[in-house]
Each structure stands twice: as structure tokens, then as C-alpha cells.
Amino acid sequence: MADTTSGRATTSPEQRGGGEGGAPTPPPPPGGTGASSESRQPSSTTAAPAGGGGGGGAQSPPSNRASATSTGTSVNNSSSQGGPDDQPCQSCGNFPARFQCAACQSVRYCSKECQAEDWHIHYRECAEIADAAATNRPRSRVDGSESPEGGRGEALAQAEVGGLARSPSRQAEAARGRLSRATVRSSASTATLTEDPLGPEGDRIRETANRPRRRPQEPPTRRPRLTPEQIAAYEEAERIADMKFYMLQVYKIIKPVVVCICLSILWVKISMAGSDYRPTQASYAVYRETPNSTPTQNFVGSLANAGIIIGQIVVVTIIIVFLFKKGYIKVLIGFFMVVVALLLGFMGYVLVLNLIQVLRIPLDYITMSFALWNFAVVGLLSVFWKGPMWLQQTYLTLMSSLMAFSLTGLAEWTTWMLLALLVIWDLIAVLCPFGPLKILVESSRNQNQEVPALLYTVNAVWFMASPPDSRVARTPQSGAGPSERQQQADGTLKEAEGTTTAYQSHSRATGRESGSSIGSNRSSALGAPSFNLDDHSRTSSTMNLVGNNAREEDAFSMEMLDRRQARPNSARQAGDQRVTGDQQQQQRSPPQQDQYQRERERDHYPERDEEGEEDDDDDGGLKLGLGDFVFYSVLVARAAMFDWVTTLCCMVAVLTGMNATIFLLAIYRKALPALPISICFGMLFYFATRFAVVPFLGTLAPNQVFI
């Protein structure tokens, strides 16, 4: 915990006092031989490969040199960090683990024997961790030479070092001790009294800003006794973290949008290459543009056409909101299934007609109906049933592009009029007090129910945890209980996992009536203790390298079980462990299989109760209505009918508008209409490009200007 003795020969190990009383304790002798404190107060005594040669360079089992520094109650416990039961013994997994490796201060053991046993594993990472700490020391020592640890910034440095090379799965395996390690460091620095107006909190404030988030606006942790400056600094740090979060979200949402737009452009370009089957204006259009109609006629006529379409959208949106509010989810899902099936089947058919005619493919009806039938059924299943995430996302993107393609049949004036009206409708629907989409988002949040088939969720990484549980109660003094931290670790785990295998989302399909709203969901009840993302993975990678001795496994599963008792319905852990397990399985020799099996079986118990919880767990994150996808694509596809310069300009403008919307989302933190900015930018750029840039380029081309 807080007091850490540096085992390095170069620095005089010094105890970090502070804590509740703020009274520094006398520095223990380097390699002192005090007895480990048995008090409930966490005392990290060291039993470490501390010896000479800087930071755990020793290769021999350290037990002979193990030093246990008596720390007693001087240990800092004022911060929100947990007690000795917060991190298990690295070797046997038992609590309490009261000894800490003196060189790196990141792992803990329950006894010297355990440490000795673990040393052959730990030495690989120990030096690394210690070095990372050492490189950071000069910069971080704010308060002069009597601060041996330079705890400030150390955690971050480790984060940087540790973050360099790590596979996600390793990270997943690792998350176990990470938090507590960060805890160790940050509480160490808590004791460092500096001239910094933020005082000891500065460290954690910075960590707060740098910590990756999994959902916006995590509610603040209980932080006892902060000065106003500290509180302000924390708020600032939270804001920074939020901004970083939204930036990451932009990266995730931009890919499907770009793909959708590009597909729409492709369809349009293909269909324009001499197809007889281009989508045409719907039969309900009351006005048809002719080349020789006047602008006034065009304006009024297209206004009427667009008004009809908008009217349909409005009516359907209101019906959807009504059904959702009343809780007729099944009706809604059925409705969306029909829409999706029609879209995939019929528009798929039209697209195939275009493709085969332009590409001159002789296709027979048998093959085509067979393929379409398969295509549509798989689409329905992946969107509304269980299925791999990437398949679902592919289908959603494809569907949006099909929808956009079908809307390219609208006449030019009608398209622009429709887009303009949509902007207005979107503003009304999302921002007005009784706007249907606003009601939809709110009731979705209140009822804790996902809107079916309306939103593309970017939640590759959302696996946030539920509210604090009994373990917090057990350690009431620590603001953020271990379980909270555990949950965060689990979240991180999932993040890692998400990159490889699993994302789960509620992204579903939608028809054209889908709302155009970006909703940001922030229902997390998570505390925000500071933790260090990366230390942990190092442990795990080491664990991996070594393969798994059975003891480690035991420790792991014990720990898991322990947590599970505290929080029986935690989906995360089971999943995590499974990932770990899967990975471990490859390295495991047959005799260990049965143990693995046992572990497996244990894992499955908690899972059953989780099903219900799952839904509210992963619905954080940015959501973009598929309607937005569609109308972005419609705009760009319309531009694609003109020429390439306009197309690219519009695409950039639309994406910029989307980023701006997400930026606003980060500021306002409520559902925002996603269409207005993008569409306005897009239209502006379309007309500017079409009537200024393209003629300009046309003039430049024959009379070339060289600068």
C-alpha cells in the first residue's frame, strides 16, 4: 500500500508517511527486518528482491534477503484505496497479502515463502517495473530528495512502458492486479506533501484525465475532504477524460459511416452506367420534374413531394414512439423485421438487377432467388437474433446503403427539399420538449430498454459494470471499494477482449423512419477510482509466458469465486475468465484439463442470472440512428450523380459535420440531432462545389496555371 520501501541501493528507502494523521513515520532501515504488521491497516511490508544492483536485478530467490519493514499504522489509508484484501497474494491468491515486493511495489504476497515461490515468475517483470519507476523519478520528484519514491507520475510512466507491447488477450488476463497496483502508487503519492496547490491529489487527478473510459461521464467517486481547487481540478480532469472518450467514439463510428457512404456511391455509379433498373420516384410523388419546368414549379412540386415523405416519417416515428412507450416491444420488433426483410429482399433484388445488367452477368432466376432468400434470412437472423457482431454490423451498413440507394430515385429538387425538411424535423424531434425522438430516448433510458432496430451502437467496448456491491460495504472507508475497481478492471478486460473477439451491441436495423439522433447513454453507476491501466498486463503476460502452474490457476479461480460471492450476477467475470481460460487452454498440458473443466463449470453458474442484466450493461456508448447513415449516404450519393469533385467534397463535409455533432455531444451530454450540421455542411459544399469549384476547375484545366 502506501508505504513503499525502495529496495534500490542508490536511493535510501524511506517510508512514506502520511495518511489520516499525516504524520510521517521514521524511515525504516533499508532492508530492515521489522515484523510485518498484523493490523487491519494495510501495511505493505516488503519482502523483495530488493538487493543491490538497482531494482530487482537479483536473479536468485529473494527470500534470504527479504526484508519486512515494520510499518504499523502509519500506512496511508486516507485515500480511497482498499486494504490488504484488495490485491491477493500473487502466488497463492490468498488474502490478506501484506507483503509487497520492495523493488517494484506492485505485487503482493502473503508470506515470504510465497514470494520466493513466485520470484522465478516475477523477476521478469520486476526489473521492468522498477526501471520504469526509476526513469520517471527525476521528473517526478517535486518535493526534494527525501522523496525516494517519486510516486507522482510513476503510475503513468508505468502505464506508458507497460502499454508498449501487449496483446489484448494478455491484457485481458492481466487486469486482475492492475488496479491495486495503481492504488499502491497513487496512495504513495498521496502522502507526498508538495507545494502543488492540488496537493497529493494532483497525481490522481492526472490519472483521471488519462484514464481511458468506457462510457461518458462516470459519476465521480466519493473523494473525501478535497479543497475547492482539487475539486475543480478533478472536474477538469473528468472533462478531459470525457473528451478523449468521445474522440475514440468518433473513430469507431466513422468507419461504418464511411463504408456506407462508399457503398452508396458504388451503387449509384454502377446504376448510372446504363442500367434500366434504376430506382425511380415513388408512385406517391405528386409532382414530376421535367427538364423544362420552371424553378417555381420545381420548388412547389418538390416541396409537396418531400412533404409527403416527411409526413410518412413523422407518422411512423410517432407510432414507433407510442408503441415503445406502451411497451409493445414485440410488435415493434415484428414491424422492424418486416421492414428489414422487405428492404433486404426487394432492394437487394433491384440492386442485383442493376449489377447484372451493367456487368453483363447472365444470371438465372433459380440462382438469384436462392441467393436472395439466403441473403435476406441471414440478414434477419443476424440483426434480430444471436450472431457474430461483425456480421450484424455488416448487414446494418449494407442495409443503410440499400436504403440510400432506393432514395436516389428521387428527383433532384425533391432530394434537396427532403434533406432540408429532415433537418428541421430532426431538430424538432430531438430537441423540442415533446419531440418524439426525445421521448423515445428518454423512455429508453427510463425503462432501461433498448430501442429495437433503431440505432447503430458503437459499443465494441462497453462492458461496464453495475453498481457497487457488498464488497464496498465491507470496506466502507475506502471511497472506491475493491469491487468497483474490480469492475473497472473487468471493463478493461472486456475492452481487450472486444478487440479480438467479442463485441456485443444492440445495434439493430432500422427502416427509413428511424430517428436521427445521437444518443449518449450514461447510466453508469461506476465509481472512478484511479487506476493504472498498464501495470497489470505485464503481470499477466508474464504469467502467460511462464505457462500456468496449477497454483496460479487456483489462485485465479479462487479469486474469481471470491468476487463472485460478493457479486453473484456479474457477467463480466465469467466472460473474462473464459477468455483467459481459452487462452490458457492452449498452453495447458492434458493433466490439467480436468482442473480447467472444473473452473469452467464454476464459471457457468453465474452466467444464468446475468442474462437480464446484460442489456443494461452494454448499452452505454455512442449511438447513431441508422436514419443518419441513410441520409448522409443519400446526400453523398446525390452528389455522386454529379461528379467526383462534388462527391468527395460532400463526403468530407458530411463527416466533418458528424464529428462536430459528436463534439457537441461531448459538451451537452444529451441526445442531439445528428443530421442538421452534417446535412447543412453537405448541402453547402454541394452547391458551392457544383456552382463554384467545378466551373473553376473546368476553367483551370485548359488554361493551366503553374505556381
Binding site: 453483363r360 437472423l381 457474430p388 456480421l391 450484424q392 481459452d582
Partner: protein, 99 residues
């Protein structure tokens, strides 16, 4: 709602696999492919029943067979549609225009 295969319970895996496998016989070989894509990565999980593995193998075989059948049919059609005269034209979705 996509669901990560790793999170399915053993029973769910069995149900999903059986539904997809049986569904594949309604001229839906894509469902077999779907089954493989979805559940193949977790076939070694120790808690799932051996039946799932059988169904996966069945799906693989079925999709392969359907692939061969449909490819053969298409090859035959493309090569012989002109010989079939009116029938060939009737079967063609869009008559290929000359250049």
C-alpha cells in the same frame, strides 16, 4: 442483437447450433455458413455438448455440398443457356445485351 459466442451458455450453444443446422435444410446453406462462423471458434469449449460439434461438421459438409451443387448449376446454365433456346431466355433474369 448480436451476441458474442463466448457468452452463450452451453444450452444456448446447443439450441443455436441445432436451429441453424436444421434451418439450413430449407435451402438455406448460408445458415450453415452462419453456424460455422458463429460457433466454430468455440467448438473446443469443454462444456458444450458433442452434438454441437457434430452439427458443425454437418453444417460444413452441407454448405460444401450446396456450394458445389449451386456452382455446378450456374456453370451449366451459363454454358448452355443459348442451347436451351426459349427456356434459357426465360430463366435469365436480365438478357445480356450486346455491346
Amino acid at each position: 442483437m448480436a451476441k458474442d459466442a463466448n457468452k452463450l451458455t452451453a444450452e444456448e450453444v446447443l439450441t443455436v447450433s441445432r436451429k441453424l443446422f436444421l434451418g439450413g435444410f430449407c435451402l438455406l446453406p448460408f445458415l450453415w455458413v452462419y453456424n460455422l462462423l458463429y460457433l466454430w471458434p468455440i467448438r473446443h469449449r469443454l462444456d458444450i455438448s458433442p452434438q454441437v460439434r457434430k452439427q458443425l461438421v454437418g453444417s460444413a459438409i452441407g454448405s460444401l455440398v450446396m456450394f458445389v451443387v449451386s456452382t455446378t448449376w450456374f456453370a451449366v446454365f451459363v454454358n448452355h443457356r443459348l442451347d436451351w433456346g426459349a427456356l434459357g431466355d426465360k430463366l435469365t433474369v436480365v438478357l445480356v445485351k450486346g455491346v
